[in-house]
Symmetry: C2
Subunit: 200 residues, 2 copies
């Protein structure tokens, strides 16, 4: 049974460990020693797999950023009325958050002290702009409640969606879990609340 | 013109300074020296006004906690259908966030490493429970969209409202400000989006 031990040496498993450590201690507060001890590797074996912690950070953040941008290129996000495209993007953004929860959590907590972090913040801003533009377009097409400022709607939408990383936990682990909520149901709830409101 | 200098010695002004420093560096990372240098007082004059930084933290957090609980005792929060009481509480919660922005920001960032912080977290949980109970009651009365889980609605509501401390800045200062948005308009936007949705 050498398979589990062998797996620890994959970049994949190393990434999982690194993301957990970065999220817990903060990227700045994580040393290569911390990563070595969390992964059960010696520091020199660690350097055999990666150049340094910044490379792991970049790989981890790409796992969040790439699927988010992929969403904006899906047919549902590129054709039809803006309000429908917006709904598609919001729904799929929730899907990505759930599928890539540790990676998106890290993305949302990045500070911007290093080049990779600044790159990540830029990507977040670029994604936010795509959503903001959709909200504005939907408003221009008359599909957003006229009394709502599109910029404020965008912020509130992100506030709602990004809060998922604080309280949503898959399969009932941890505090405040919603164990019986499947990802698709969660995306439905967000879309329903945001687009049609909680009031019956 | 000795008034501005004199004012620095009020507990009030000391609190303002302390909240800004606690929020920037974290409560754990703030020393009495930091508070002394930020307030322009010597450490011994500081001790003349307060017993220690924990007292300042408590006073600061009370400025957030007390008005939040006061909201739950207002007539609009205690009589009528649950959905109307919920709407009242959400609207007034936004008012409090805006009026007490630095204090509520601090409240939302507290970690729970000291007795005062744990007290604050307990107060937050107690307030969250009041809102959660209102959502459930409104759902029981048939006024919440049936497909929405009350626990999830509560989380999403808080996600939306609490995000205000990240992006709302009064009078156009700072990044991402919405300068032309008056507090009442902001509360309207939150209530409209949450209760009726963004879709026209």
């Amino acid at each position: 049974m050498t398979v589990p031990a062998r797996r620890r040496y994959d970049t994949e498993s190393l990434l999982e460990v690194a993301v957990a450590v970065f999220t817990e201690r903060g990227y700045d507060g994580t040393s290569m020693e911390d990563l070595a001890s969390a992964s059960g590797l010696s520091k020199s074996s660690l350097y055999h797999h990666i150049e340094g912690k910044e490379q792991l950070l970049r790989l981890a953040l790409e796992r969040a950023v790439e699927p988010l941008f992929a969403v904006t290129r899906e047919p549902g996000a590129t054709s039809g009325r803006a309000i429908e495209r917006l709904e598609h993007v919001v729904r799929r953004e929730v899907d990505v958050l759930v599928e890539r929860l540790p990676y998106v959590t890290l993305l949302l907590r990045v500070h911007g002290n290093t080049e990779v972090e600044r790159w990540a913040l830029e990507q977040r801003r670029a994604f936010d702009k795509v959503v903001a533009a959709l909200v504005r377009e939907a408003a221009d097409e008359g599909d957003v409640r006229a009394e709502l400022d599109p910029a404020v709607v965008t912020r509130l939408l992100f506030g709602m969606i990004n809060s998922l990383v604080e309280w949503y936990r898959p399969k009932g682990s941890g505090r405040g879990a919603h164990p019986r909520m499947a990802p698709a149901q969660l995306a439905d709830a967000v879309v329903r609340l945001a687009f049609d409101g909680l009031r019956r």
